[in-house]
Amino acid sequence: MIRYGTSTAVAVMLLLSAVSTVAHHSFAAEYDQNKPVSVKGTVNRVAWVNPHAYLYINVKDDKGKLTVWAFELLSPNALARQGWNNKSLVYGDEVTVEGYAARDGKLLADGSVHANSRMVTKTDGRKVYVGSSLEATPAPAGRGQ
């Protein structure tokens, strides 16, 4: 990934542009914005699938027990337009992922913990914005039709 000395103004512009790239489903019906999560681990893989790509993170607790988290990303087409490619995050990258927990609290079929992501931070401080359907779905109340 290209390193950019990005100004806040540019970053805001890019984030605003991201608004138009998501919203396949209602965020609020699937994730809970009142349950933010922050997970530190290593990249297991990025699944380039529709309607949302998924970022799988290996997380080990103090006793060495491994848990895999599955974070919903934007869709592959939207990620591509933001400059993502298949080398943006690769196996073994150490990252911190911030996002929101799934409402139902259920594991996915493969046993991974289900969440929505909005930002990935690498160990060198670089952030990879991954978007969130939270920011694209007008809230159920107060924001028109």
């Binding site: 529709n50 933001q82 990879v128 039709q145």
Partner: protein
């Protein structure tokens, strides 16, 4: 609505990034214009050899995809929308990888393919779908079954392409917030390309069975000069549908 949404994102953006420069929050758009983040290309309105406005191109709806204004609903339709909103839009057909319908569009680009007698509109998402705007003078199909994307006929009024669409099923939502319609819905779209880089459409919806009066709103698109529509196979891994639980999981 748009202002509120933009403010939310602005807030998120500033809270994320303040005091953390220089960093790379995100890679730059890989090609040309990308989802409205750059200015539209400039130049005169292109025309076909026949002298008609040429709408050909890949068009980015930017954030206007969900701006439809306040649709004047009849009480039963208002009640249905209220119920859908109370359920946090968990049953939105789009979340289940079904077509957006008309005039709803996805946040993804659309491509116009134009010939003298037929204009085809290709949707990248929410599912790959297409609309056919027949310009050969035919009338509406009279024997059709209910359609997700309706039956469209088109005509030129000067430089404006006027598309009339009827024949809908009642399954689609007009917005992600659950605005309903019936099979009486008629949609009139008036497309203009005022210059090279912009496409504008004025949309009027009539539904005497669900609305109290016709409703008109506008959308604007920007030409993407270095981007094709992209593959988007919604049903590939739509695990969302099993987890769209709404307020009471």
């Amino acid at each position: 609505m748009r202002t509120a949404a933009a403010s939310l994102v602005l807030l998120l953006a500033v809270s994320d990034l303040r005091g953390q420069a220089p960093q790379a929050p995100v890679a730059p758009p890989s090609t040309g214009n990308s989802m409205g983040s750059e200015k539209a290309p400039t130049g005169p309105t292109p025309r076909t050899p026949e002298g008609k406005v040429d709408f050909s191109g890949v068009w980015d709806p930017g954030s206007t995809f969900f701006n439809i204004g306040q649709v004047p609903l009849q009480p039963w339709a208002e009640a249905l929308q209220r119920e859908r909103r109370a359920n946090l839009s968990k049953d939105d057909p789009e979340g289940h990888c079904l077509p957006a319908g008309v005039p709803r569009i996805s946040p993804f680009p659309q491509k116009f393919v134009q010939t003298p007698k037929l204009i085809v509109l290709l949707d990248e998402g929410n599912v790959h779908s297409y609309r056919q705007f027949f310009l050969d003078g035919r009338g509406h199909a009279t024997d059709t079954f209910p359609l997700w994307m309706g039956d469209s006929i088109a005509k030129w009024e000067g430089d404006t392409l006027v598309v009339e669409t009827i024949g809908f099923n009642e399954k689609t939502w007009i917005s992600g917030q659950g605005v309903p319609h019936t099979d009486a819905l008629k949609v009139i779209e008036r497309y203009r390309r005022p210059d090279f880089g912009h496409l504008e459409v004025e949309i009027t919806m009539e539904d005497p069975a669900a609305f109290t009066r016709p409703h008109t709103f506008k959308r604007g698109f920007i030409l993407l000069t270095n981007w094709e529509i992209h593959e988007y196979v919604c049903n590939e891994f739509n695990i969302d549908k099993d987890h769209l639980v709404g307020p009471t999981p």
